[in-house]
């Protein structure tokens, strides 16, 4: 048991002393997860809106595919992205393998079905009378889209948090696509895995605490936004 307690003390020491290696992993995680969640929201919310709002043939099948992709294993995404980004792969020329943008691509693929699926659910649960209310006030298509999204903002936020949580805590993609390179592509989760394997519990616990703190900050901010709007 002692080594766990010691780990906690060491964690506070590492964070308080501004340990460069620890902060490098934190920075890499924040950066890469922000890129990926930004991209997945930008692409996923309009697609989710269309999936939830419009009726078209094959909608149910498409919905099943999206729901299935929500459970995509991270190592499988890592494998696919690796295959595409490796020098022999179709996107090898871009030199994205073992880089933070490479990890961000994989994490976007991970978050995208979650954002699309949960946005579609939010839009489907929208009251049909809302469309009539907005259109009867003279809204054009863009205003109808934006106002409808604003009406389901809380459900969309919940979807965004779920996607962010998945992106922040994944190991498979960061490990396979990023390569866990110190000072470069090492993220909090890959660092925890590595340090635990090395028996360095302090570093692992420190990074775990940071991960939890980031999640707490995000949730507090979201709660504030929900109360405010």
């Amino acid at each position: 048991m002692n080594f766990i307690l010691e780990g906690f003390f060491q964690a506070f020491h590492l964070l308080a002393s501004g340990n460069a290696e620890t902060y490098s992993a934190i920075w890499a995680t924040v950066k890469v997860s922000s890129y990926s969640i930004g991209c997945s929201l930008f692409i996923g919310i309009p697609l989710g809106f269309c999936l939830g709002y419009f009726d078209f043939s094959g909608k149910k099948s498409l919905r099943t595919v999206v729901d299935t992709l929500m459970a995509l294993p991270t190592v499988f995404i890592g494998l696919l992205v690796y295959a595409f980004l490796t020098h022999r792969g179709p996107l090898g020329n871009f030199g994205l393998l073992f880089t933070l943008p490479g990890i961000a691509i994989g994490q976007t693929i991970l978050a995208l079905p979650i954002v699309i699926g949960l946005s579609a659910t939010a839009v489907e649960s929208m009251d049909q009378k809302l469309r009539i209310a907005i259109m009867s006030m003279g809204a054009n298509r863009r205003q109808l889209f934006l106002s409808s999204l604003w009406e389901v903002r809380h459900a969309l936020l919940a979807g965004a948090i779920a996607a962010y949580g998945r992106v922040m805590t994944e190991v498979g993609i960061s490990m396979m696509v990023g390569g866990n390179i110190k000072w470069h592509t090492r993220t909090i989760t890959t660092a925890i895995a590595l340090e635990t394997n090395k028996g360095q519990f302090g570093m692992g616990v420190a990074l775990g605490i940071v991960l939890l703190s980031i999640a707490l900050c995000v949730n507090i901010s979201i709660s504030f936004l929900r109360r405010r709007y």
Binding site: L130, I132, A133, M135, S136, G138, E151
Partner: protein
Amino acid sequence: MVPPIYEIRSLKHSYADKTVLDIEHLTVQPASIVGLIGPNGSGKSTLLRMLGLIESPTQGKILFNGREVEPFSDEARFLITLLPQEPFLMKRSVFKNVAYGLKIRGHSSDLVSRVNEALALVGLAGEDFARRPWDALSGGEAQRVALAARLALKPEVLLLDEPTASVDAASAQLIKEVSLRARQELGTTLIIASHNWDWLYEVCEEVRHLFKGRLFGAGKENVIFGPWHQGQCNLWEKRLPDGQHIRVSEPPEPDAVAIVEPTSVAGASDATLADAEANILQGMVSRLALEKTNAEIVVTILIGNLPFTSKLPRQQVQQENLYPGRKVRLNYNPYSVKWL
């Protein structure tokens, strides 16, 4: 003649394979008040949604000010507004709900004054009220806020779908007054779907009857549902709730729906009532309402619990001494019955 503000040509609308609207031709004059009467499911709300450019018809055209329009048409979307039957407010404050349409139109300078003016019109003035969230309002208040949001736009056309159906008497009265004021002060064309016949006959220049998606007559026809059973003298009949029979010519099918137009209504003594013949129904006057255009009186007669209406000249109402509660004989021609 002033060109119509609305013209409908060969409009058909279906949900799945079921046709819910089938209107060959309809025109609405600018600044007029048109009433739509019909039972639930007759297509009133669907027609209002078409006219409000919320939905496109499956077939046919809707012309607004002579131009063909459809949902999101730029030439019409700022001029037409629809108040749905159930009030629906967006998840924002009362002020933001009323200001929404104005913001869309780019009115930012006089936003506060126009919102306050509209709220005052529906009797909900006050900054405290404007700050209330959408979910802190009663049903009547929500409907009045929804109406204020439409009135703030000063629309050319205001479509009202059962505006008084789900509110208390005071809110209903206010909604009626304010809608008419919009017509009087702004020249707004009002198209009102309502079950409140008295109100419609009182305020509308034209009342149209809608049944199974088709427009017919001017609202005074009486719709009688089957089933019909073969009776005497080649006539078919239906037993009314009070034991009387209504006799008609042969229906196209036993469950057909008949439209019966009374030919005369006369006051009756108990003696004449006892002598009732075929083609005559006995009933009691339940309502009298003045029709706006040609000053006829719309008489509603209860036969059993089935309401029949007939339009009569004022003099006849006076001569026959018709008043609510008066027993009457209602004459009709069984061979002039129309079938839907």
